[in-house]
Amino acid sequence: MRLLDIKRLSKEYKGGTHALCNVNFSVNEGEFISVIGPSGAGKSTLLRCINRMIDATDGEITFDGVSVLNLKKKELRRLRTRIGMIFQHYNLVNRLSVIENVLHGRLGYKTTLEGIIGRHDEEEKEQAFAILDKLGLRNETYKRCDQLSGGQKQRVGIARALIQNPKLVLCDEPIASLDPNASKIIMDHLKAINKDMGITCILNLHQVDVAIKYSERIIGINSGKTVYDGPANELTMEKIHEIYGSEAGELIIE
């Protein structure tokens, strides 16, 4: 089933930088897609256009039958509850406990007042604890987030996205600040939520080898244009050089 449809998507920043030029692709439910490309190619912009954290200048985005770009404030909030997001720097509230941070994922479903006083019903709390158990954070539940390691923080970030009950999870460089060991744990968890829960995942990655290993499909972006869109196993060295605009021998993965 078609989940996301992106047509002629363009984004021009003030000052004339073309972050995205005429990007087209569609995503089926349950896919696990990596977006790769050099820094500044427009990967982050692309991801943020999908949940309207950045407003596209031109084009069409359809998510689950809804045209994203025309949504009003309230409908936009509803859309965002269906799309989880995971960040390179985790973006947790460090002074709050793990469980409080996870429950932030439910704010979109609440009235403003409920969210302000932080009222959560028992069901939500149970779900939050269950997700934390699944992600191996059982002993960290009541710790303050600034006491956690990077890998643990990212798992809290995943939990916060999961409790939204999302159809799609956007991951912006989820492992760029993590060591190889923690990176593997995070990637395995992302793969698991994709496989077991059927949640579609779109990841921005800098590690081409990781992208090839974990994802079925890879989208390569250079200067705001898609230069590759296809299965991971068909991504040849030549294609990689085309994506990164590099010559043979210039990349660390060779």
Binding site: G84, V93, G105, L107, G108, K110, T112, G115
Partner: protein, 289 residues
């Protein structure tokens, strides 16, 4: 091997022709920027003005040494011979309490107003326009000294505690909005982004992310302002008839010419200020971090 040898034997080759040198041929490390030149000129002219000022004072016929001597005698009586003559210790403590009340009231009212407006003044929470309007207005409030605000409000409310409270609150708001909004702007943009991306509304973000993250700073600034307001309240008591220990100080010095009492009251105020400082540090260390 001594140091010069190690420098000479450095295997990295240097193209010496590109180095900037001073007139005496030494290698330049500091490059004079325009701002530095301006700073230097300002400093030098201030020094010259100060020297000229002291040279051109009109000393009238005061014997300088005698004047210094008299001052020292006065200060000595003030601080070594302090005493209460016109009221008792318990009365003075009560007056201190009034001054504290003045400081407390202005800090609380100002703090609440500043918290709300501070949110709207923080650039990462509102748009640039709203923020600039509030910040510009607040800069104007801060540019006018507290005592002037009190006197301005005294036109409507009459000299006394009402004008003092309104005027001091005004200045408190000017100070705290700047402090609060800048503390909030320090906050990592990513946290706001994350909550926004999960569908949270503006007020939810404020209460769930902004306030928990910045509460320590906000409280620290409020404490600092309370201390400032305490000293301000003393001055307002003297200058605007707001009552409290400041008024007694004014009476002792300007009405009774009683330097001993002035000394005693000064000690009292100092003690309270130190006490407040200790208290606020304790609270900060124990409950907030």
């Amino acid at each position: 091997m001594n140091i010069t040898e190690s420098v000479v034997s450095n295997p990295i080759q240097l193209d010496k022709s590109r180095l900037k040198r001073t007139k005496s041929g030494k290698i330049k490390v500091k490059v004079l920027r325009r701002s530095q030149v301006v700073t230097n000129i300002t400093l030098v002219s201030l020094v010259i003005l100060t020297i000229y000022g002291f040279l051109s004072f009109n000393y009238k016929n005061i014997n300088f040494l005698e004047a210094v001597n008299n001052t020292i005698t006065n200060v000595r009586t003030m601080f070594l011979d302090s005493a209460l003559n016109h009221f008792t210790l318990s009365e003075s403590l009560y007056q201190i309490l009034i001054t504290m009340g003045l400081a407390f009231l202005t800090t609380v009212i100002g703090g609440v107003i500043s918290l709300i407006l501070g949110l709207f003044a923080a650039k990462n929470l509102t748009n640039e326009k709203v923020s600039n309007v509030i910040k510009g207005f607040v800069a104007f409030i801060r540019a006018v000294p507290t005592i002037l605000w009190v006197l301005i409000f005294a036109v409507a409310a009459g000299l006394g505690s009402v004008a003092a409270v309104i005027g001091m609150t005004f200045h408190t708001v000017g100070y705290l909005i700047k402090a609060f909004s800048e503390s909030i702007e320090e906050l990592d943009e990513g946290v706001i982004e994350a909550l926004k991306a999960s569908g949270a509304s503006w007020w939810q973000i404020v209460f769930q992310a902004i306030l928990p993250s910045t509460a320590t700073y906000l409280l620290a600034w409020t404490f600092l302002r309370f201390e400032i307001n305490f000293t301000n309240a003393v001055a307002m008591g003297a200058a605007a008839g707001a009552g409290g220990i400041g008024f007694e100080l004014f009476m002792a010095s300007g009405f009774y010419f009683d330097v001993r009492e002035v000394g005693f009251i000064t000690y009292l105020i100092l003690a309270v200020a130190v006490l407040l400082e200790i208290l606020s540090t304790r609270i900060k260390n124990r409950y907030l971090y």
